[in-house]
């Protein structure tokens, strides 16, 4: 099943314990509580469920949904 922008947002909101509506696409997710453990959780989840190949460093380097979308093969 291909990953979508909504799914990315929903998964991020899930690991952060927030409402998806409160997660912006263009802001640094670190300010919303994203940390290395949660990034690893996302890396693992997306590899398992969607077969993506991103690494921890890829996601941690620019922690914003709009930056992640192309890396995850999703059109923003």
């Amino acid at each position: 099943m291909a990953l979508t922008l909504d799914q990315i947002r929903a998964d991020v909101a899930d690991v952060l314990g927030e409402d998806p509506a409160d997660i912006p696409d263009d802001e640094n997710l670190v300010d919303y509580g994203l940390d290395s453990v949660r990034i690893m959780t996302l890396v693992e989840r997306w590899r398992r469920d969607h077969g993506t190949e991103v690494t921890f460093v890829d996601l941690a380097e620019q922690p914003a949904i709009e930056q992640w979308a192309p890396l995850l093969g999703v059109r923003a």
Binding site: G17, V30, G33, S36, V37, E61
Partner: protein
């Protein structure tokens, strides 16, 4: 082998003039650089890790992979140089790295042939970890590769923390694995994944110039505006992180590490718990550590250190370098919150910190002003490393282990998640300067146990369900440490006494001075009175007040009340009448027993009053039967009621039943085993519960009770006399009194003592040690207990040579002690909590105060859980902790914690730091508000004894060691954070005590209560000496001759101390009462005058008349007065009489001698009046030295023996003859020097400003300003003194010496002087024996200052063999 050649400068073309080489350091790097610069030789900033590779490794290929990787990591290939002049900070310069085998820092070894290859490799690594890097040279990394088994290799790397952090290690390891794998496969490794150092530096600089930086600064400042004092497990809050090697440990402390493992099941349950509360498992670990810390330190506000990788959204994600930061993570841990809430705090706190993650920890501390104070902002660091590397080297899997994570200020908990599903690996790294190894292991064990219990419990339950200790520890402190059950028969306090009296009526029961009573006599007297009391209504459950000073009548009265079945209520007649009236009104006794002398000090009362020495009553009593009266008394009836003041509120009467005190006395007998030939001293006032065992224990077991005289309990000399003369074997001292007693010289002769018991306040270790030195072989026991639990509930036998605080020890029979946290759960050993007492000795409660009784005597849940419902426990309000061996340590009061300017100050901690100073015997810290609104921390200290000081180094004087408050403050400042360093230190000779002998905090003198300077100068040496002794006793820099001892904060115990000092120093017989009649130095000198002999200007000045040794005659310097020798008294034995000879011509009508010979003849006559024949002892300073030699020769010529001729820096006439005869100005200068320079604080020289001649007026003014006794001389006498001076120096110049047959003890003023030509060898022609010289490090005029004169006294005593 690992030295690499470095390039001093990069190969560049044309020199570029302006731009400095290399790059500046990032803020993170700078911190590490500075830490290393503070202690260049320390290896503490080494970090290291080890990767175990399970498979075959080609070492050559591996070296190649390593070399390539290092070549790609420019952040690693640097050296760090100190800033050159004009530069703002250190810089990092690139270095070249040689290939493997040509200098690349890689050590390779095949250890397969070793017996234990792994151990050998580990040992090599441990040794390598202690090698410091040279930052300025580099390289700042080193590698090793060990072949330790078939298909097993260890790759070790050590890197300086300034260029690497934990995340950086993972980048390097990953790349090495990648390159190695590619090389093994024969393929090209991919392009370098690493970012550039320059990008890191640029990003760091950009951040520091950004608005974000300012926003972050404001955030942290706001978050920690209250500057919390952060608790640590070391128990020393916020200890400054001293540069390594400067922290008193010496050497180089590398963190103490303990490793442990949390199993996979518990780990999995923690993960599930985290998920269930929508947190991550690291959040759970933070919350658990915060909980543990809060519990272990009794704090609700705790701060953990949160290490931050610091790379999110940063170029640093790809740079193997030093980036990490530590941020404070604050928790509020209240008992009613839940673990879920605590986890939520962790989650929110970490998110909050992450938003401001780039702001450096050191900058936060700087902003809050904590750097200067050396205060930390965080307690333990919790470092969670969530990823395993999971690397493979050409298919061979590997495991990574951290070996050193860098310096540890306090404690770091490193937690590694093992990807192989084996759970969590948890390393505790502790600063060895703060923690014992076993202590670290215990904390770690408990933390793991707590994690397991958290994993098994409902996170929404209140935290009260989670205790800090393990189940095994709970069992130990509740059951094992309290295993005290001993069956005792159900008797009363009085029953065994009557049984004893019936069995051995002829044995001696009581001794009071000349009076002795047998058991039969005492029992009969008490029985008659008991029958009389019973007729008045004294019976079981009723009270009778007893207001009788220590006497036979007192003992009879107490026994009689008990025999009638009643409980006695002691009234101390010394209390204010209002308080006594309150007590009588409150307790409503049946009657009051007193004596004629005491009756007037009692309040008016309607109650029947029995005056025991009233002949009418005595006659009435004689009519009663002398046999034991019957009474329906049970062990549950009250035996006595003692009022305690408590810290707040009105005094309360503690009702103690027979069963409680009976248990206490049966335990004492079981523990200490008194025999009929024991004699127990009764000296404690009856209002203090220690008196209860003093009175009754000996009488219950057939021993003898010895009564000290009334008032003697505060007079050490009188006590020592009673103990010796009455053969006392058993005595009690409150520790403060013990110290006074030990200072009394005759205490050492009390060798008949078989045991001494201490209780009532903290027994300082130094007091215990002083006891063992003074009375070696006499057992000393430390006891503790509240009045509410029948005198004592713990006991500890002190052994000489132990260190640390003296414990209060273990529980007595049938007694349980609980150390409980605020939720009343048991604290494990080492963790402080409030002490509760349960068991046989509890009081019934407070008389007529059911509310207060219910508040302090609460349900004992532990007895209930053990199947014994309905038992109570008493809440002591004392803070204590268990030692691992089951003994208790007393830590102070639970209300002893204060806040000062928003900072928490544990006064006990300040006191402990003070008491640890070798010059301090005991300390008390208080917060005072002597001026409204000016609250400040004040410490009162007593100096360590001379013996204790002697252990630290040679003591210059006897008596108390000098204690300089400024120096003490400076030493404290190195041990305590600033806010805990007292703003004023007051040195006392002894602490003021309450009538019960406890420290009276309210009576501590205010620091400003120093004596007024100025005032009338002393009129003679005796007043001067007394003023000095007053000042010493009161801990004041100076006391005026008209200042009242009690006005300056003196009390009766201080008075006892002072009187003892005066007796020893002046050799006078002075009663304690004299000081009350004559409380100023002047009035006391007048009082002593009848004893002190002639006036200050007499021909003979008896400095000390008493003593059975051969008198010492001291001859005056040029001024003709021997006042200056009073300093000798303290250094010579109290048995050594000292007489000062003084010049003729000081008094009107006296003529000046014409020759030295005439002067000496004069003195010869005086000496013979006092001591008709030899051997003689002579000492003289300056002109007095020449005179002493002359007198000695005269005595020998008269056929007498001279056994001591001591000459203090005097030189024969030959050496002076050619110098000009001094005029009046020289005489004035000599006078000033004697008066001014012999003061301890006489730092200023005597001479006037350049060019101004000294006049009589100026000299007098100066003397007055210095408080010198000479200033009191009237003008005529001063003129006479000046004439004497001029005459004396003339006599000295014209004198012709003859030969003294014997040795001379000579003292040279060894400081360089103008008259360098003076030589003691000039005496050789005039002395047949040796010149035994002793250099005194001072100038000639300073020889009678306290330090030098004490050295002289010591040498004289030593020479005479009477030291």
């Amino acid at each position: 082998m690992r030295a690499a050649r470095t390039l001093d400068r990069p190969a560049t073309g044309a020199p570029r003039p302006a731009a400095p080489e290399g790059l500046p350091l990032t803020a993170a790097q700078s911190g590490m650089w500075f830490a290393q610069a503070l202690d260049p030789g320390s290896p503490a900033l080494n970090t290291a890790e080890c990767i175990e590779i399970h498979g075959e490794v080609d070492p050559v290929r591996f070296a190649e992979a390593l070399h390539r990787t290092v070549g790609e990591a420019d952040a690693l290939r640097v050296r760090l140089v100190a800033p050159a002049e004009g530069e703002s900070g250190p810089r990092q310069l690139p270095i070249a790295i040689e290939p493997p085998g040509q200098g690349f820092p890689l050590h390779t070894a095949d250890l397969r042939g070793e017996r234990a290859p792994d151990a050998t490799a580990r040992a090599w690594m441990r040794a390598d970890l202690t090698v410091p890097f040279d930052l300025a040279t580099g390289p700042l990394f080193a590698h090793a590769l060990f072949h330790v088994g078939d298909r097993r290799w260890l790759w070790y790397q050590r890197v300086h923390h300034a260029v690497m952090d934990g995340y950086g290690y993972s980048l390097i390891a990953r790349r090495v694995a990648e390159v190695y794998t590619a090389l093994a496969a024969g393929t090209a490794p991919g392009p370098s994944p690493f970012g550039r150092l320059a990008a890191l530096v640029a990003e760091d600089a950009a951040y520091r110039d950004s608005a974000t930086h300012e926003r972050d600064r404001a955030h942290w400042e706001d978050r920690f505006r209250d500057r919390p004092a952060v608790p640590t497990l070391a128990g020393r809050s916020a200890l400054p992180s001293l540069p390594h090697g400067l922290n008193g440990m010496g050497g180089t402390p590398i963190a103490l590490r303990h490793s442990a493992h949390l199993g996979p099941e518990a780990t999995e349950r923690l993960r599930e718990l985290a998920t269930s509360v929508r947190a991550t498992w690291p959040d759970v670990l933070f919350a658990a550590q915060a909980l543990y810390l809060a519990r272990a330190t009794r704090s609700e506000d705790v701060v953990l250190g949160l290490p931050m990788m610091g790379r999110m959204g940063s170029v640093a994600l790809r740079v193997p370098g030093m980036v990490m930061n530590v941020l404070p993570l604050r928790f509020t841990v209240t008992p009613d919150s839940t673990f879920a809430e605590l986890t939520r705090q962790a989650d929110l706190g970490i998110r909050d910190a992450r938003r401001h993650r780039r702001y450096r920890y050191a900058d936060i501390r700087r902003d809050l002003g904590l750097l200067g104070e050396g205060r930390a902002l965080v307690g333990p660091l919790v470092n969670v490393m969530p990823f395993d590397y999971g690397l493979t080297f050409a298919g061979a899997r590997s495991d990574a282990y951290n070996l050193s994570a860098g310096p540890v200020d306090d404690l770091t908990v490193n937690i590694y998640d093992r990807a192989d599903g084996t759970g969590l690996h948890i390393d505790y790294d502790a600063n060895p300067a703060l923690y014992e190894s076993a202590e670290v292991a215990t904390h770690q064990e408990r933390f793991l146990d707590l994690l397991t219990r958290i994993a098994d419990s409902d996170p929404h339950q209140p935290l009260t369900a989670l205790s800090p200790g393990t189940e095994e520890e709970r069992e130990r402190v509740l059951v094992e440490f309290n295993d005290t059950a001993v069956p005792v028969p159900p008797t009363t306090l009085i029953g065994p006494i009557e049984a004893r009296a019936a069995r051995r009526p002829g044995a001696t029961a009581l001794v009071a001075g000349e009076v002795t009573l047998t058991y039969g006599e005492l029992n009969a007297r008490a029985n008659r009175l008991a029958r009389h009391l019973a007729a008045l209504g004294v019976r079981p459950g009723a009270l009778a007040a007893v207001a009788v000073p220590r006497s036979v009548d007192l003992v009879v009265a107490l026994l009689a009340v008990l025999k009638a079945g009643g409980a006695y209520l002691p009234l101390d007649p010394g209390y204010p009448a209002e308080r006594l009236a309150d007590m009588l009104g409150d307790a409503a006794p049946v009657c009051v027993l007193t004596d004629t002398a005491t009756r007037p000090s009692l309040p008016d009362t309607e109650l029947p009053v029995l005056t025991l020495d009233d002949p009418a009553l005595r006659a009435e009593l004689a009519a009663h039967l002398p046999t034991d009266p019957g009474r329906p008394l049970t062990p549950q009836h009250p035996a006595y009621v003692i009022y305690t003041s408590g810290s707040t509120g009105r005094p309360k009467g503690v009702v103690v039943p027979h069963s409680a005190i009976d248990n206490r006395l049966r335990w004492a007998q079981g523990q200490y085993g008194l025999t009929p030939d024991d004699r127990v001293l009764q000296k404690t006032p009856s209002g203090f519960d220690v008196s209860v065992w003093e009175f009754f224990w000996p009488l219950r077991v057939g021993a003898t009770l010895v009564l000290a005289e009334p008032g003697a309990h505060q007079d050490p000399a009188a006590l020592a006399r009673t103990i010796r003369e009455q053969g006392v074997t058993t005595a009690h001292f409150v520790p403060s009194m013990l110290r006074l007693f030990l200072d009394e010289p005759s205490a050492a002769h009390c060798t008949g003592l078989r045991r001494v018991l201490c209780s009532g306040e903290v027994l300082p270790r130094q007091a215990a040690e002083a006891f063992h030195r003074t009375l070696p072989g006499v057992p000393l026991h430390n006891l503790y207990g509240p009045t509410e639990a029948a005198v004592d509930v713990t006991h500890h036998a002190c052994a000489p040579g132990e260190d640390g605080p003296v414990p209060i020890g273990r529980p007595v029979w049938n007694t349980r002690l609980y150390v409980l946290d605020p939720d009343r759960r048991p604290c494990p050993p080492g963790i402080p909590g409030e002490l509760y007492v349960a068991g046989a000795q509890l009081a019934t409660g407070y008389l007529g105060r059911p509310d207060l009784t219910a508040e302090r005597f609460v349900r004992d849940p532990f007895a209930e859980a053990a199947g014994r419902p309905g038992e109570r426990m008493y809440r002591t309000g004392d803070l204590a902790r268990w030692r691992q061996d089951g003994a208790l340590e007393y830590l102070g009061r639970t209300d002893h914690q204060v806040k000062l300017r928003g900072l928490r100050v544990e006064l006990g901690e300040v006191e402990a730091a003070l008491a640890a100073d070798p010059h301090v015997a005991a300390a008390c810290a208080t917060v005072r508000e002597d001026r409204p609104g000016d609250r400040r921390l004040v410490a009162h200290v007593t100096p360590a004894s001379a013996d204790a000081a002697a252990e630290a180094g040679p003591a210059p004087t006897r008596g108390p060691a000098p204690l300089d408050p400024d120096a003490l403050r400076a030493r404290l400042a190195t041990r305590l954070p600033d806010h805990m360093v007292p703003s004023a230190l007051v040195v006392l000779d002894a602490f003021p005590l309450t009538p019960n002998g406890k420290l009276d905090r309210a009576a501590l003198p205010a620091p400003s209560a120093a004596a007024r300077p100025g005032g009338r100068p002393p009129r003679g040496p005796r007043e001067e000496t007394l003023a000095r002794l007053f000042a010493e006793a009161l801990g004041l820099p100076r006391v005026g001759v008209d200042d009242g001892f009690f006005d300056l904060g003196g009390d009766s115990l201080l008075a006892a101390r002072l009187v003892a000092r005066i007796r020893a120093t002046l050799g006078v017989d002075l009663a304690l009462g004299a000081l009350f009649r004559a409380p100023t130095p002047a009035s006391l000198a007048d009082l002593l005058h009848g004893d002190g002999g002639e006036g200050a200007l007499g021909a003979v000045l008896p400095l000390r008349r008493t003593g059975d040794r051969t008198p010492l005659f001291v001859l005056p310097p040029a001024v003709g007065l021997s006042w200056c020798y009073s300093g000798l008294l303290e250094g010579l034995s109290p048995d050594q009489p000292v007489y000062g000879l003084q010049a003729r011509g000081l008094n009107p009508g006296e003529t000046l001698p014409a020759t030295m010979e005439e002067l000496a003849q004069d003195w010869l006559a005086r000496v013979r009046e006092i001591q008709p024949h030899g051997p003689y002892r002579l000492l003289g300073w300056s002109v007095g030295g020449v005179a002493a030699h002359t007198l000695a020769v005269l005595l020998q010529e008269a056929g007498e023996k001279v056994e001591l001729l001591a000459v203090m820096d005097a030189y024969p006439a030959d050496q002076w003859r050619e110098t000009p005869t001094p005029g009046e100005a020289d005489a004035l200068a000599a006078l000033l020097r004697m008066a001014v320079d012999d003061r301890p604080d006489g730092q200023a020289g005597p001479d006037g400003p350049e060019g101004e001649p000294l006049t009589r007026e100026r000299v007098t003014a100066r003397l007055r300003a210095e408080g010198s006794a000479l200033a009191a001389l009237d003008d005529d006498t001063l003129a006479a003194v000046l004439d004497v001076v001029v005459n004396n120096v003339t006599l000295m110049r014209t004198h012709r010496h003859r030969v003294f047959d014997g040795d001379v003890l000579f003292f040279t003023a060894a400081a360089p002087r103008a008259e360098h030509w003076l030589s003691r060898d000039a005496w050789r022609p005039y002395v047949t024996g040796s010149l035994i010289n002793r250099d005194i490090d001072c100038l000639h005029p300073q020889m009678t200052r306290p330090g030098p004169i004490a050295e002289v006294a010591e040498a004289v005593a030593g020479y005479l063999g009477e030291g």
